[in-house]
C-alpha cells in the first residue's frame, strides 16, 4: 500500500513505464482503474460477474474470446496472463512486511506467491517500504509474523513467507542481478514526534477494518484515500492533512472493537479522539458545529436541565411524527433529513424518565 501512498503507478505511467499489479485483487482494481477498498482484500467490493466482464474487456488482446464465469477459471486466466508479464518484466517492485536491522534482510509475505515471482524473476528488484517496518532482529520479525497471519486472514502462517537480502549470489539458481531498497518516510517521522506515535506499530493486518461497523456500512472507497477503516482514519489525516480529512475521525462510534482486535494493541479510538481534539482546537469544524458542541457541553454537564430538555424533545418528535409515522424535516438538521427520515418515536418521555418511572413502580410493588 506504500506504492498507493506515493501514487507510484500513475507516476510510472506518466514517464512511459507500464506497471502491472500482480496480486490478483490489485490486478482486478488496476483493470477497473479503481483504488483499493481494503488493504488485505483490495477488490473485495467486486463481484465475480464484474471481474468476468473486466477480464473479457481487457484480455481480448491476449486471445480471450468467451466470457469466463467460473471462479477457478478466472484465477487461471489471470495466472496465465500474469505469468508472461513476470517473465518479461525488467523490474520487479515489491513492498516488505519487515526489515531486519541485524541482517539487512527483508521479509515479504503473500498467499498467492506473487511477491516471490516479482522478487526473483525480473533482472532488477526494488523494495519500497515505510521506515516503521524496521525491526531489530529476525526473532522480532518471527513473533510479528505469527500475529500478522492470524490477524489478517486467520492462518497459522501465510502461504509464502520469504526472507530475502540482496541480489543473486554466486551459486544461487535464481534471483535478481540488481537489488534496491527505497525507504519511505511520508510523515512517519512526524508521527514519531507527535502524540499518535502508537500508530507506527501498525503492520497493516486489516483486523480493525474487518471489525469496524462503520467500514462495514460505508465500504472502503468512502474513506477517500489509500487506507480505510479505523487505521485509515488515524493515518490519512496525518498523511493528507487533517483539514483535508477532518470527517474521518468524526465518522466513528467509538465502540472500541478495533482496539480490542488490534494485535499490536494500538489504542485506535484514543488516537481518533486526539484527532478530534486537534481539529476542534484548530477550529476546523464549521462555526455552526462548534457552537452546537459548546451548547451541547453546557446542557450535558447539567443533568436536570438535560433531562428536562430530552423529555421535551421526545414529546416534540412524537408530536411531529404522529401524522406520517416519521419526521421528514427538522430545523438545523437539513443535512441529515435530506437523505433520510427520522423514525417516529412511540415514547412520550426520555429513557431516564421512563427508567425512573419503572423504578418507582417496582419499589412500590
Amino acid at each position: 500500500m506504500v506504492g498507493e501512498e506515493a501514487e507510484l503507478n500513475r507516476r510510472l505511467e506518466e514517464i512511459g513505464i507500464a506497471p502491472i499489479e500482480t496480486d490478483l485483487g490489485e490486478y482486478i482494481i488496476q483493470l477497473a482503474k479503481e483504488p483499493p477498498s481494503h488493504i488485505i482484500a483490495p477488490a473485495v467490493h467486486k463481484t465475480k460477474e464484474q471481474i468476468s466482464t473486466l477480464f473479457h474487456e481487457h484480455h481480448q488482446q491476449y486471445g480471450l474470446t468467451e466470457k469466463i464465469t467460473d471462479r477457478a477459471a478466472l484465477v487461471t486466466e489471470a495466472r496465465t496472463v500474469l505469468r508472461e508479464k513476470f517473465r518479461n518484466a525488467d523490474v520487479g517492485i515489491t513492498g516488505a512486511n519487515f526489515l531486519v536491522a541485524e541482517s539487512g534482510q527483508h521479509v515479504l509475505v503473500t498467499n498467492e506467491g506473487n511477491g516471490d515471482l516479482s522478487s526473483n524473476l525480473p533482472r532488477v528488484h526494488i523494495v519500497i517500504v515505510g521506515i516503521e517496518k524496521v525491526v531489530p532482529t529476525l526473532e522480532d520479525a518471527s513473533l510479528l509474523l505469527r500475529l500478522l497471519a492470524r490477524s489478517a486472514t486467520g492462518q497459522h502462517f501465510s502461504n509464502y513467507t520469504s526472507v530475502m537480502g540482496g541480489p543473486k549470489r554466486d551459486g544461487d539458481l535464481d534471483g535478481p542481478d540488481e537489488f534496491h531498497v527505497v525507504l519511505v518516510d511520508n510523515k512517519r517521522t512526524e508521527l514519531l514526534d507527535g502524540d499518535l506515535k502508537e500508530m507506527l506499530r501498525c503492520f497493516r493486518c486489516g483486523a480493525c477494518i474487518n471489525h469496524c461497523p462503520v467500514y462495514g456500512s460505508v465500504g472502503g472507497h468512502a474513506y477517500g484515500w489509500v487506507y480505510p477503516g479505523p487505521m485509515g482514519s488515524v493515518i490519512t489525516p496525518v498523511m493528507v492533512g487533517l483539514e483535508n480529512a477532518k470527517q474521518l475521525p468524526e465518522a466513528c462510534t467509538l465502540n472500541g472493537r478495533c482496539a480490542e482486535v488490534c494485535p499490536m494493541s494500538i489504542p485506535l479510538p484514543s488516537l481518533l479522539r486526539k484527532h478530534r481534539t486537534t481539529a476542534f482546537e484548530r477550529q476546523l469544524p464549521s462555526l455552526r458545529s462548534r457552537m452546537a458542541l459548546s451548547l451541547w457541553a453546557k446542557v450535558a454537564t447539567r443533568p436536570a436541565l438535560y433531562r428536562r430538555l430530552s423529555d421535551a424533545s421526545v414529546k416534540i418528535l412524537s408530536m411531529l411524527s404522529a401524522k406520517r409515522g416519521y419526521v421528514a424535516t427538522l430545523p438545523l438538521l437539513g443535512a441529515w433529513t435530506k437523505s433520510r427520515n427520522l423514525p417516529s418515536s412511540e415514547a412520550t418521555s426520555s429513557f431516564v424518565s421512563q427508567y425512573h418511572a419503572i423504578k418507582r413502580t417496582g419499589d412500590s410493588q
Binding site: 477488490a43 498467492e112 515471482l117
Partner: protein
C-alpha cells in the same frame, strides 16, 4: 542534506527528548547503549505451546492447507515415492530436480537444474519443516535467505472464496523420510 540524513535527523530528534542532545549516530559503533544491548540480547519471543507429537501436528497442519504427505522409511524410498505420486496424479509433464538431489537415482526422463518455467513439476529438498505452522523451509543457497512455504499458492480475491493456484504451484506434495 540528503533525504536519508533528513529522515535520520528527524527520528533522532523525536527520540532524543529523553536522552539529552547528542549527535545522530552514524553506525552501530556509536549507537546508544540501549540499541546495542537490544540487538545483542535477542530476547526470545513467546512461542505457542502444543502438546501434540511434533511430526503428527506438522502433517495435520500441512494437510489442513491442501498439502499432501507421503511417509517413507529411508531416503532410498524417495524416488519411488515421487514417481508414484506423479503417476497417481497423472502429472506427465516435464520434471526438474534440484541439483542438490542429483545423488538420487531419478528416472532418466527427469531433468535437473533450475526451472525454466516450462516444467510441470519441481522436486527440491528442504532445509527444515516446521511443526508449529506446518511450513516447509526452502533455502535459496547454502546459508542464504529462505522461503517458508505453507501449501499451494492460494487467493481469496474473488468474492472472498479461496482458490488454489493463483501464481505458484497448484499442488504441494511432501515426502517425509521418517527412518534413517
Amino acid at each position: 542534506m540528503s533525504a536519508r540524513d533528513a529522515i535520520l535527523g528527524r527520528i533522532h530528534s523525536a527520540l532524543s527528548e529523553h536522552e539529552g542532545d547528542r549527535p545522530a549516530p552514524t553506525g552501530i559503533e556509536d549507537a546508544p547503549a540501549a540499541v546495542v544491548k537490544r540487538l545483542s540480547d535477542r530476547p526470545v519471543s513467546t512461542l505457542p505451546s502444543f502438546s501434540e507429537d511434533p511430526t503428527e501436528r506438522m502433517v495435520r497442519l500441512m494437510e489442513s492447507v491442501q498439502m499432501s504427505v507421503t511417509r517413507v522409511q529411508t531416503s532410498a524410498d524417495v524416488v519411488n515415492a515421487v514417481d508414484d505420486y506423479l503417476r497417481s496424479e497423472e502429472l506427465d509433464g516435464d520434471v526438474t530436480v534440484s541439483p542438490a538431489l542429483s545423488e538420487m537415482d531419478w528416472p532418466s526422463h527427469y531433468g535437473s537444474g533450475a526451472a525454466t518455467g516450462n516444467e510441470s513439476v519441481g522436486v527440491t529438498p528442504c532445509l527444515a519443516a516446521v511443526a508449529e505452522t506446518g511450513s516447509v523451509v526452502f533455502e535459496s543457497g547454502e546459508g542464504t535467505p529462505a522461503t517458508l512455504n505453507s501449501g499451494p499458492s492460494r487467493t481469496g480475491d474473488i468474492e472472498q472464496t479461496i482458490e488454489i493456484g493463483a501464481h505458484g504451484p497448484r499442488r504441494m506434495h511432501v515426502v517425509l523420510v521418517q527412518g534413517s
